[in-house]
Amino acid sequence: MQALYAQLLVGLINGSFYALLSLGLAVIFGMLNIINFAHGALYMMGAFVAYFLLNLAGLNYWWALLVAPVVVGIFGMILERTMLQWLTGLDHLYGLLLTFGIALIVQGVFQNYFGSSGLPYAIPDQLKGGVNLGFMFLPIYRGWVVVFSLVVCLATWYLIEKTQLGAYLRAATENPTLVRAFGINVPRMITLTYGLGVGLAALAGVLSAPINQVRPLMGADLIIVVFAVVVIGGMGSIMGSIITGFALGVIEGLTKYFYPEASNTVVFVLMVLVLLVKPTGLTGRAA
């Protein structure tokens, strides 16, 4: 039973990353009509910024949680201003191709300087150790990742669904021209939205650094799984992304326990099943 709970926890952690990443993808898709293939590369950048902060500037994990999303978010906003904005009005697939190119560049540069092996990133002192819950031993850092991700996801949901700013955002997703007519600067909102989505990816990268090590290709395979998550969940609803992300992480964890051979394919198999039964995705509006 210990092993089962341990795999469930791993599943919840992976689910946190799926949720944070697919949430960002959904928000970006809503505003920019672009599937951000660079999301995995920017997640990796988040982890590397944390690594640099610790080793070059002596700033610890807590600073990294704050600084990395901002740094990567700004980097993302520069990408949006210099490149992505020129794709407005073109076929969706160009956005995919452009961001795929950006992902290749970012990953290639990091691979060139850091190889393909992982760099260690220590768990911060405050979160070391674990607690015995009676039925299982819970490493504090892992519990922290799940709880913190959940809080961030819910905060994002609240921001978009319940605040004034979020209302503008949703309105601009539906009809940008009309929202501009009301005097709201939609291009700036688009830039900020991309920054927000990318910042969430970077935050996930920082959270993952002490667990998965810091590797140039850490986001490359992850983004494909996240795409499958997005296909399953549909990108129409923020809450849908969060729930699907966590649920698939848990299912993957359970698979690791009951049938480990299928653990890295289970999400894709589920995607196939969902497509056969309900092609629009679980929460989906038709795309």
Partner: protein, 322 residues
């Protein structure tokens, strides 16, 4: 109207004649390659990728479907052919046949699943399906995991042509490429191809005109996958191995890149693109990961600066369809 085709020219007898002239010139140029001192292995490899890119282009350029998982056909046909040749000791023609048939079957299954969604979702689904196959091949015993299938016997095609002789192999690959190319060309200019183009331009309208667009898309997907598999089977004889690289997502990305560089929806673009990218990989092999960075830069600059690609820009300049 799709942004892919802002300057589609009507198919006229003159355009057809131009295309046949270019095709003849291409065939002659490729036929004299062995006598020019150009490394034939390089050209054979490029021809396999050119056919692969042409097959991919049939979907994206004429059906508007961006498959981000075409490496799965390359890899699947490669593995099946390699296994048949090495373990079952099949003759080359049967080896190619079973590899291509496996790709066709895969096309039927993955096509049926992926055409359930449109646009960007279609791309994500094909990518996810190819990643699923990647993990299956990583674990399946017959693929020998990380090592791949190596030392594949080339044998005698139809009992006559000794494929271990580079010159013979070169012409066999060339004939295979030209046959595949002509099949795609014929498809594009058939009534079927016209319906496909109408789906790309305006799917709801094609449906309202009574076309069962899903069936057309599925057939196009199977055809594209089959030809991509045929290219993968030919590549087994050239490279004499089948490995996980051929199923990896980065390979799918390279196929997209070749077609994009040459020109999406152009007839000769994928061929030009494949030669450009393969040549680049040869010359830059010593630069390690910078090759990936350069590929990324090409992607970005193609999308931002010349979306028509090399051949597309030329065709636009000449006001011809190429």
């Amino acid at each position: 109207m799709s942004a892919l085709t802002d300057d589609t020219l009507p198919v006229t007898p003159r355009a057809m004649r131009d295309e046949m002239i270019v095709f003849a010139a291409m065939a002659v140029l490729l036929a004299i390659v062995p006598f020019t001192g150009i490394y034939p292995f390089f050209v054979m490899q490029a021809l396999c990728f050119a056919l692969l890119a042409c097959a991919f282009n049939l979907l994206i350029g004429y059906g508007g479907l961006l498959s981000f998982g075409h490496a799965m056909f390359l890899g699947t046909a490669g593995y099946v052919s390699a296994h048949a040749l090495k373990v079952w000791a099949f003759p080359p023609e049967l080896g190619i046949l079973v590899g291509t048939a496996a790709a066709a079957l895969l096309g039927l299954i993955t096509g049926y699943i992926s055409i359930k969604r449109q646009g960007i979702y279609f791309s994500m689904i094909t990518l996810a399906l190819s990643q699923l196959l990647y993990f299956l091949y990583l674990q399946a015993p017959f693929t020998h995991g990380e090592d791949g299938i190596q030392g594949i016997p080339q044998g005698h095609l139809l009992g006559i042509f000794d494929l271990s002789k580079p010159l013979v192999l070169y012409y066999v690959v060339l004939v295979g490429f030209l046959a595949g190319f002509l099949l795609i060309y014929r498809t594009i200019n058939s009534p079927f191809g016209e319906v496909l183009k109408s789906i790309r331009e305006n799917e709801p309208r094609a449906i309202s005109l009574g076309y069962k667009t899903d069936q057309y898309k599925l057939v196009a997907f199977i055809l594209s996958g089959t030809l991509a598999g045929f290219a993968g089977s030919l590549k087994v004889f050239v490279a004499q191995n089948a490995s996980l690289t051929d199923v990896h997502w980065s390979m799918s990305g390279e196929i997209v890149l070749m077609t994009l560089v040459g020109g999406l929806g152009t007839i000769f673009g994928p061929v030009v693109g494949a030669f450009v990218i393969i040549a680049m990989q040869q010359y830059l092999a010593g630069f390690g990961q910078w090759v990936t960075v350069i590929q990324g830069v090409i992607f970005v600059s193609c999308v931002l600066l010349f979306r028509r690609g090399l051949v597309g820009e030329l065709a636009h300049f000449l006001r011809r369809s190429l």
